[in-house]
């Protein structure tokens, strides 16, 4: 086996030095009746070229050469080449959690830089070293708010990503807190009146997403006012991190839960991505996950360490703020490199391009359908209502190698034939025009299928 650095003779010699006669002597503590006496029924050992072929074939059975208007929590942005060059350096790729600070300063400093940039972008005071993803991050943020307030009710906007809400529900069910859904109004955003009426003395927090699942920007200052009046906390979830280049950060929030996939992380069929929780400084002790802090060595040189670990499971066990241990460090490094590449001006310009593309797409596509929530400010996603059923519409688009908008029927049946479209800097005018032309074709063509 080519990964194993031992010759048969070396194995024999080592067994002799240990003082056993054969390798199975070292497995003698496994009761005999449970010892496997046959090969596992898995594919035979393959050569490297066979492995590459196997996955090339798998890749060929996925979409290839399609233009796509999908977003909905996973966004297609350009990934600068140096991201993969740098994260594939073995010193980053093959090191563990930086428990031994003296020989992991590289990882530690990069995380410190990550925490700083997340704070700058979200307008929060502190940020952790990452969470699994945006959905579990939102769920942990809710648990954090429940601990802080000591209250048991949670209000979750229906405009939060439906899968985030499902995950939140899974986490909440045995925490003894109850999650209520908060309706959206005619403008596709949190209904402020309903919010005001739903808040009680027992509301721990309100979870909203901005830009929300329909791509619309929530009125965070107004929501925060209402929420804070009742002594509850406001959690803002951000699924499209690039929006922060042009959309005002939710500075009125108490906790921000960000999914940073848009910052240079491959779509990879849904993961690994990079969640992160940022918050106001006063909530530091309730923060889940790892934190890196600056300190000095005995010669006064600056260095970085994992810190405040008394919040964490390896010290506090069942009283920890979370059970998280392994997080998404390498993915957080990808986002750190991405943000360094784009920097202060680039992130703005990038977001501006996304805004422009989506604006153009709205103009082109809404001629052949109805743009829902038309007057509300949005980033780069929008909901289109069509006469034609989404399945038919998308089938026609697929014939032209275009993956159209995502049908919302599964989660929002009240919206009828609604599809969620996304345009990013990678979407070309030509692709938009082509999709619009296909939309314009008579649905009679679809009925033939």
């Amino acid at each position: 086996m080519r990964y194993l650095p031992k010759s048969p003779a070396e194995r024999e010699a080592m067994l002799a030095e240990i003082g056993v006669s054969g390798i199975n002597d070292l497995f003698s503590s496994v009761p005999e009746e449970y010892r496997l006496t046959h090969d596992l029924a898995i594919p035979r050992q393959m050569g490297e070229s066979e492995i590459v072929d196997y996955f090339k074939q798998a890749a060929a059975h996925n979409a290839n050469g399609y233009s796509s208007f999908l977003g909905a929590g996973a966004y297609r942005h350009y990934r600068p080449v140096i991201i993969d060059s740098l994260v594939q350096r073995g010193e980053f790729l093959t090191s563990y959690t930086p428990y031994q600070a003296e020989i992991t300063q590289g990882t530690l400093q990069a995380i410190f830089e990550f925490q700083t940039m997340i704070c700058e972008l979200t307008g929060m005071d502190i940020a952790n070293a990452s969470m699994y993803d945006g959905s579990t991050g939102a769920a942990e943020a809710v648990m954090m708010a429940v601990r802080i307030t000591g209250r048991g009710d949670v209000l979750v906007a229906r405009t939060v990503h439906p899968e985030y809400r499902e995950v939140m529900q899974t986490y909440a069910q045995h925490q003894g807190h109850v999650a209520h859904e908060l309706a959206y109004g005619e403008d596709g955003r949190v209904d402020l009146k309903a919010l005001d009426q739903s808040l009680t003395e027992n509301t721990a927090c309100v979870l909203v997403q901005s830009p929300n699942f329909f791509g619309l920007i929530e009125d965070i200052p107004a929501i925060a006012d209402i929420v804070h009046k009742k002594g509850a906390l406001l959690i803002v979830s951000i699924a499209e991190a690039v929006s922060l280049g042009i959309v005002r950060p939710p500075v009125e929030a108490d906790i921000v839960s960000l999914e940073a996939q848009s910052f240079g992380v491959a779509l990879s069929y849904g993961g690994p991505y990079c969640g992160v929780i940022a918050a106001k400084e006063k909530y530091l002790r309730q923060m889940p996950g790892r934190l890196v802090g600056e300190t000095k060595d005995k010669h006064g040189r600056r260095g970085f360490v994992l810190t405040l670990s008394t919040r964490e499971q390896h010290i506090r066990r069942e009283k920890a703020t979370s059970n998280i241990c392994t997080n998404q460090a390498l993915v957080a490094l990808m986002t750190t490199i991405f943000l360094t590449v784009y920097g202060k001006e680039g992130i703005k310009e990038l977001a501006q391009q996304n805004l422009a593309k989506a604006h153009y797409a709205v103009g082109a596509l809404s001629r052949h359908g109805k743009l829902l929530f038309a007057g509300t400010p949005r980033f780069h996603e929008f909901v289109l209502e069509t006469d034609e059923a989404p399945e038919q519409l998308n089938a026609r688009l697929l014939d032209h190698k275009i993956i159209g908008g995502l049908s919302l029927a599964r989660w929002y049946p009240e919206l009828g034939n609604a599809t969620l479209w996304c345009a990013t800097e990678l979407t070309t005018r030509e692709q938009i025009d082509q999709a619009a032309a296909i939309l314009a074709e008579a649905p009679v063509a679809a009925a033939v299928r």
């Binding site: 194995r11 798998a58 790729l93 600056e294 920097g343």
Partner: protein, 509 residues
């Protein structure tokens, strides 16, 4: 720069590291300190649609400033992160014997195949008809993992070990609930990893602590006394965190099952079992695996991981939504209609990129390679044990599997603790072993070499540990001041926690 192992007195013994020579590393400031206005590391193509006025479109929601993000050119960015990388130790540089972490070689073909365009650019919501390759990867990996564990059903959704524990205990809870009563407690041995009790708590269970027996294993009589109608499950790590197989495993399972409780296995130590024995055969009801340990996906400085949960038939109805299913025409799809499911534990389908890597690893090994891997991992741990047990205290003499746990008892007499020995090991060119647990061994040295070490590397490690043992006797201050060869010396952790500085600010420094 300090040279390696500067003798603090001429007479006292100072060891000679054979694996390393000091060399220069580059200094590098924080990226923010290197930034200057107008530098750029990016170039966007010209916009092919009309420009828009953000202020007009977004109104009061428009952002004014993007804050203190850096401005740097591409070469500076390359150097910045390359310099940082050289400050890290890594498996690619040498043995990384962190116990319980299974720091094995991360094959590069895994990285290559996970970046193939049709895989890396697959959108989670692209039509299932255009995702058959991805679905096939999921299905194939599931089948391999079921065969390896001997279990009946599996979910790949959890993102890491602790997330797998969470999912597994939710299954336990849903199972009991379906029988009318979720029960109240989870029994956890005092040797367990911290995530086990933390998980039980977030699943709404009380933790009942089980004291280990004199061999560091499960005290079956004590367990029997603890299990009752309130017990939902025992969370067992097997081999245990001291690297010992619970040879009474069937009795443990029987005791639990007799009272309707379930056996959960923390599969962190599966690298000791693959191809040699299967949890499904020895009575485990539900378990998690760590693809980032046993199945070679890279740790990446702390993640990402992947923590599949495998279970017996009785728990299958409760698995998270969705599950992969086969249609009558042979194509694959996701089934969302799972009325008894515990729900979703993560958006989309899990850390798919890790599935690709783990499957590539399994294919590269085959049944014979996986078995040899396990055998080599166990061989290496026992070799280290045989070569060091005369100098380091072995608190439990039970046979070791993939890791060996010593204690610092003999060195403590000279005021030297496991953490100090660990720091000195750095000077010898090794990443330290695990120092912080298991809690049943005060001052633990938890050493897991994995199969990836050659005999030469093991011998260097053993030589280092032996020289350090002598230094501890004859030159303790040298160890207390270690490491001597790193860019920075020991850091003020107390200060870091007392006055936390968790981000750079424009006005400091």
């Amino acid at each position: 720069m300090a040279t390696i192992a500067e003798p603090i007195s001429e007479k006292a013994f100072t060891g000679t590291p054979r694996k390393v020579t000091a060399h220069i590393t580059q200094n590098e400031a924080l990226m923010f300190e290197k930034s200057s206005p107008g530098k750029k590391g990016y170039k966007l193509p010209p916009l092919d649609v009309p420009e828009v006025d953000a202020q007009a479109l977004l109104g009061s929601a428009a952002r004014e400033s993007t804050g203190a993000l850096p401005e740097l050119s591409e070469i500076e960015i390359i150097r910045h992160f390359t310099r940082l990388s050289t400050w890290n130790y890594a498996i690619d540089l040498g043995m990384y014997p962190l116990g319980s972490c299974t720091m094995k070689y991360n094959p590069r073909v895994n990285e290559y195949v996970s970046r193939l365009e049709g895989i890396a650019e697959a959108h989670p919501y692209q039509p299932e008809s255009l995702s058959q390759g991805a679905l096939q990867v999921i299905k194939s990996l599931q089948e391999c993992l079921l065969e390896i564990t001997g279990m009946d059903a599996i979910t790949l959704q959890p993102a890491a070990g602790a997330h797998g524990e969470f999912t597994g205990i939710l299954l336990v809870r849903a199972y009991h609930q379906s029988r009318g009563n979720p029960r109240k407690t989870i029994i956890i041995p005092d040797s367990a990893h911290g995530t086990n009790p933390a998980t039980a708590a977030i699943c709404g269970y009380q933790v009942v602590n089980l004291k280990s027996n004199a061999q560091g294993g499960i005290d079956v009589a004590a367990l029997e006394a603890l299990v009752n109608e309130d017990t939902a499950a025992l969370m067992l790590t097997n081999p245990s965190t001291i690297g010992v197989f619970e040879h009474q495993i069937h009795k443990i399972a029987d005791v639990l099952h007799a009272r309707g409780a379930l056996l959960y296995m923390d599969g962190a130590n599966m690298n000791a079992l693959v191809g040699k024995t299967r949890p499904g055969d020895f009575g485990v009801d539900v378990m998690h695996l760590n693809l980032h340990k046993t199945f070679s996906t890279p740790h990446g400085g702390g993640g990402p991981g992947s923590g599949p949960v495998a279970c017996k038939k009785i728990l299958e109805p409760f698995l998270p939504t969705p599950v992969v299913a086969e249609s009558s025409d042979g194509t694959l799809h996701f089934n969302y209609n799972r009325p008894q499911s515990v729900g979703r534990v993560r958006m989309f389908y899990g850390n798919f990129g890790m599935f690709v890597r783990a499957l590539a690893y399994i294919l590269a090994n085959g049944p014979d390679g996986l078995r040899q891997t396990t055998e080599d991992a166990v061989l290496n741990a026992n070799y280290i044990r045989a070569k060091l047990e005369d100098l380091y205290e072995l608190p439990y003499k039970t046979p070791s599997m993939h890791e060996v746990v010593f204690s610092d008892r003999r060195q403590v007499r000279n005021g030297i603790k496991t953490g100090d020995l660990a720091k000195r090991l750095i000077d010898y060119g090794f990443h330290p072993y695990t120092t912080s647990f298991p809690l049943i061994v005060p001052g633990a040295l938890m050493i897991e070499p994995t199969e990836s070490e050659s005999r030469e590397e093991l011998d260097l490690f053993i030589d280092a540990m032996r020289q350090i043992a002598r230094e501890a006797e004859e030159n303790p201050q040298l160890i207390l001041d270690a490491p001597h060869s790193t860019r920075i010396s020991r850091l003020d952790e107390t200060g870091a926690a007392r006055k936390p500085i968790l981000r750079w600010k424009p006005n400091t420094e």
